[in-house]
């Protein structure tokens, strides 16, 4: 067992967990933050993307103990004071989601894109999101959402 201490969505948390506990499992099972999803177990689909110290990572292939002491932001921590983050609002406006399963990871990944590059082209958005699989939308409205958010962020 290992004691893992993190700052998750602005709150300090500390839990004793088995050494091999993945960050995705830590968030979902130990903190009940079930907005972070697991879709593939092999780091391909991106449903599990969260931010660690401001950068997007795949939490299904990260050990919780490996990010000890880090600041973690999950989809639950994105809206502030009851107001959707511009990326969340943009996904809603452009119908960038259907079943909602890939959405948390997609949104977290897209937020990191705009932190990295302010006004990405369509092609740059599509290439950045290559690590996030969506089976419902055909990606077009997700690209539109990122472009819409870029005008607000």
């Amino acid at each position: 067992m290992t004691k893992v201490t993190l700052e998750v969505n602005g709150k300090s948390v500390s839990k004793e967990v088995p050494d091999h506990t993945l960050l995705s499992v830590f968030l979902r099972d130990n903190l009940n933050l079930t907005g972070t999803h697991v879709g593939c177990d092999t780091s391909q689909c991106g449903a599990c993307v969260v931010h660690v110290n401001g950068k997007s990572i795949k939490s299904c292939s990260t050990l919780a103990a490996d990010v000890e002491g880090s600041k973690v932001t999950t989809i639950e921590g994105l809206a502030k004071d009851g107001k959707l983050h511009p990326m969340q609002a943009a996904f809603k406006k452009t119908h960038g989601l259907q079943c909602g399963y890939c959405t948390p990871g997609m949104v977290m990944s897209a937020v990191d894109l705009l932190q990295t590059k302010k006004n990405p082209s369509d092609q740059e958005i599509r290439e950045w999101l290559e690590g996030n699989i969506c089976r419902c939308t055909g990606y077009q409205n997700i690209v539109a959402a990122v472009k819409e958010a870029a005008t607000k962020m």
């Binding site: 933050l33 999803h37 879709g39 989601l97 399963y101 958005i125 969506c134 419902c136 055909g138």
Partner: protein, 792 residues
Amino acid sequence: MASLVGSRVERKEDTRFLQGKGRYTADINIANQTYAVFVRSPHARAKIKSVDTSKALKSSGVVSVLTGKEIAEDKIGGLIAGWAIRSEDGSEMKVPGNPPLAKDVANFVGEPIAVVFAETLDEAKEGAEKVKVDYKVLKAVVDPADAMKSEAIHDGVDKNLCYDWLLGDRKAVDEAFSKADKIIKVDLINNRLVPNAMEPRACVVDYNTASEEITLYTTSQNPHLSRLVMSAFGNVAPENKLRVVAPDVGGGFGSKINVYNEEIVCSWASKKIERPIKWVAERTESFLTDTHGRDHITHAELAVTKDGKFLGFKNETIANLGAYARVFATVTPTYLFGPCATGVYVIPAAYSNVKAVYTNTAPVDAYRGAGRPEATYTIERLVEKAALELGMDKTEIRMKNFPTQFPFKQTLVHTVDSGDYVAGLEKAKQMADYAGFEARRKKSEANGKLRGIGVSSYFEACGIAPSAAVMSLGCGVGLWESAEVRFNPTGQISVFTGAHSHGQSHDTTFAQIAADELGVPMENIDVVHGDTDKGTFGMGTYGSRSLTVGGIAIVNACKKIIAKGKRVAAKMLEVNEDEIEFKDGEFVALKSNKKKTIGEVAFACYLPGQRDEMKSPIPEGDEPGLIESSFYDPPNFSFPAGSHICEVEIDPDTGNVKVEKYTAVDDFGRIVNPNIVEGQVHGGLAQGIGQALHENTQYDETGQLMTASYMDYTMPRADNFPDFNLGFTCTHATSNPLGVKGCGEAGAIASPPTVMNAVIDALGGQEISMPATAEKVWRACKAMKKSKAKAA
């Protein structure tokens, strides 16, 4: 009041999904739950000589281990095929038993043999490792082309043949073919796909020892149907003691129609071990055991005159059912396929022959489009080839054979109520700048690239479906849908539907429809679905049926609310009922212009009796309350149609195919929410283009699945697509009061032939199979170069 139907309303469900507040099955935990891990066959075909659970039972944290022996002793039934299909010779189809846990023989890799329940997931996994199964490995039947010549894998299923089905008239077809100037022939493989909903299957079961009720939370497209099957065929519990909840479900695409082994086993076991149970599939388990889609081998022929008129059509198809026949498995390659195989054309004679075979692979069932993509691929490859061989323009040959009169009596089964196929193709040509293609081809050529254009026109029979029709074709149930509209005393409305949303946006579109019917803001309306304890029995969501069947049930229930409201309002306003008009949420007495809002009327319905000003307006013969329901059975299928045009550019040095332009013009009848309809088309196109260019399910010769993770199975990604160019022609359906036709499957139906026609056009007519991967295309480019050099 402006109509909500037709407007781009933002989705109600997004606020929760976007904040991580969706509640999917794997998000549910129940105090004191155990974790289930299944022991699965590593062999495609093997005799199970013995199962030794003794070591597993002693493993740390293991609560129980159950096998096929115990489930058979408890007479828990197996999985079922929902449609009875007869062979051409009149004999009934052959369906083997499919026990929830295999006892004597395993028939595909991943088939569950035993299950371990433990205090933690890690302990359950460890326990499962310790279950010792002694197998006698048998030679597996893997290739459907060989299945009929191979040893029978199921007792009583000679030649591994489920049925040899025929629709149409062989003699008429022979006659038509004898008059043809030319016979166009194709040999096609419709590649096997894995639906791959992003949410892996899961179930959580809670058994209440006091009430003896089982609550099953599960990833289902049709919770009511699941309960019926588990109760009537599975013998898991009587329906009144079994509650099935499908909460938020992360995509289905057909794969979550079926009741699966794991749901039956965990429900049965929860009662047995008197503990809640949680099971969540890993992605590889999903690949191995979710129902797959397509997997046809087809030879088809089209008889044509020299000026491009179609005289006759026939196809001979082998459809792979996998190891067992599941709910829609037997109808998908027959009545969902054959009737659509003559496409949008007037073809005087046709037949469709399908031999469905069993193999030692995962069961194959409905996947987005279910039969209709296979049908459209067949006819649209033939038509495109006919244009090439006759030297005709590919749009001209289609126009020439479109029906111009509606209703259109299609060759084999359907009478299509409405449509305008010419307008659709004309619009697509214009939007795609079809006329400018040759210039773009030359430009690509100058850059060393090969450019191709492909067309396909499709129709589909969906809105599944009129009960009388489907039951006569072998369906085990009627395919109506239910709705209940509950007007609460204080004015909020709950709309219960038997349909289920797993991405389709019912919370929004159904609220739009009800808001228009009742004249109330849609914020006052909650759409409730997915729980057999809430609302009436319903058939669920598949076959683009939610709006065309479920939506109409909502309209009809709303109409009953208005009818009762009129009676009540008449009494409140002291006029005759026929002097009341309902408009924009108000009941108006025509002569006096006095009015009551629907909210006031609803409130009054809950207050029989009289006190001061307030007096009951409930007419004699009416009961208190304002709740109405409807069971709607459609009079016909609905028939979306359209024409798609695709342009691809191929790099002959790498074989890479780039989709440069994709234009889709669809006729879905009246559109309730354009955002949502466009989203459905985008998603369908991505799956169809995925089939054409990227996705393939590969078993090796021993029946091992080689593509069992996202590292091996190519899922389409964001950078595989351009922006799609969508257009609509909206001829309203005449078969339902909303005029709607359904839009969920069209993209996946139309796009595989459109893309392949473009690829084959770029390759100068050289045929290649789906998926047109870089390697295949590169080889084709090399062959092309060689033959050109030879000719020179």
